[in-house]
């Protein structure tokens, strides 16, 4: 079980997350939706402490980071949380000096100290899973955006994380390339991969999310099963947000 409790995060005077608590059920996909600036990406980045909240708690299984104002969280806890999470970025962020295969192997070899042969076997399996086997030896610069993102998904899955964090995984892609990434994520969802995903791609959220959390102005406005939040939103702000996105077309506007 992954839970965030009473997370507060400010950048200077800008209070981005206001006492946010969410629970991410295992084996499901939780989508964080909301307008730009609603805090959904920041919240996602608090899970693996790429952003350190001023206060609150992050629980992943028995690993707990307790953030208290004025206290630095220990390096060991940060590393432990990051080893239980994998992350997919909006701009892929593949390592450009490594091939697709090496990108997937890197964490296994450098962080988990796996022998290279074992890491390579695992990496090839994952590249196969995301449909990128034939590009194993390609440099990232020679891959399309959709292909890069699929390799990035394989890289994030390599150490078998408890949760896959996806930060706008399709936003930098045109609809056709986005579709191939959505397919891969949908397949992972069917297999029961736990995911937490910040997105304003409503099609992506509607396709694979089992739970939805709607954020506005750094607060959780509404949270629940996807069918309920999309089909019968309770709060006026949720209703307005969903109707605006739906009006912009099926892919969801940027």
């Amino acid at each position: 079980m992954i839970t965030l409790e009473h997370i507060n995060k400010s950048f200077g005077d800008n209070h981005v997350l206001k006492d946010v608590s969410i629970a991410v059920p295992e084996g499901g996909v939780t989508a964080l939706i909301g307008a730009s600036g609603s805090g959904k990406s920041t919240l996602l980045r608090c899970v693996n402490l790429l952003e350190i909240p001023q206060s609150g708690e992050v629980h992943i299984d028995d690993t707990v980071a307790r953030l208290v104002p004025g206290h630095k969280v220990s390096r060991d806890i940060i590393l432990a949380l990051r080893r239980k999470t994998g992350m997919v970025f909006q701009n892929f962020q593949l390592f450009p000096h490594l091939t697709a295969l090496e990108n997937v192997m890197e964490g296994l070899v450098t962080v988990l100290k796996w022998p290279r042969e074992k890491a390579e076997t695992r990496a090839r399996d994952l590249l196969h899973k995301v449909g990128m086997s034939i590009k194993a030896d390609a440099w990232p610069s020679s891959l399309s955006g959709g292909q890069q993102q699929r390799v990035a998904i394989a890289r994030a899955l390599a150490p078998s994380p408890k949760v896959l964090l996806c930060d706008e995984p399709t936003s930098a892609l045109d609809p056709q390339l986005a579709a191939e990434v959505v397919d891969v994520l949908a397949e992972l969802a069917r297999e029961g991969t736990t995911m937490l995903m910040a997105t304003h791609d409503l099609r992506l959220a509607a396709t694979i999310a089992s739970n939805v959390v709607f954020l506005d102005g750094g607060e959780v406005i509404e949270a629940g099963p996807a069918g309920q939040v999309f089909g019968a939103p309770v709060d006026e702000r949720t209703r307005r947000f969903i109707s605006i996105l739906t009006a912009n077309g099926p892919a969801g506007g940027q």
Binding site: R75, H97, T110, L143
Partner: protein, 226 residues
Amino acid sequence: MPHWLNLMIDSLPSLLWACVVFTVPLTLLSFVLGLAVGFVAAVVRLFAPGPLAAIVRFYVWIIRGTPLLVQLFLIFYGLPSVGIVLDAFPAALIGFTLNVGAYTSEIIRAVLLSVPKGQWEAAYSVGMTWSQAMRRIILPQATRTAVPPLSNTFISLVKDTSLAAAITVPELFRAGQRIVATTYEPLIIYVEVALIYLVVSSVLSTLQARIERRYARYGGYVGAAS
């Protein structure tokens, strides 16, 4: 055989000897040590707290703001007044190392900053520590960008080592001076000395081109924006 050619051939062995025994080692050692100093200085300026970074800024300010020749004289002729007596070669080595360190620290700082912040985050997201991310992800990318400006520094350094002649290091230029003192043929000998520097620099430029080609294989930084 014309007189000038004869003279050049006669003096070549002692000039090459001075080049191989003093100029090349002085260049290589001070470059490698200078790079280490430059890397530490760059990392301190980028990541360390204020007071340490201020010390590094002071060091770079002093070295870049004063002539290299004056620095060498201070180390070799000046320091004995406070009880620090150094041989000519170590004095030159220290002078050039400090000089290379100051200049390369600025280059290294810039190329480390040129690697997108997202690469740090990607490295952290797979569980890397700061030093793992630096060694495996950031440095390899920064190195590629650093090859042209560092090659510049290196080739300048080869020629700057001629200043060590002024503090009695018997390197290539000083060996030339000695031959001129006995042959009274400054034009021929200094042309020969210049040609040897030119050959060494050209070899290094070729090496630089080869290193750049090797790095070119992985193409650009697609998708690494923001």
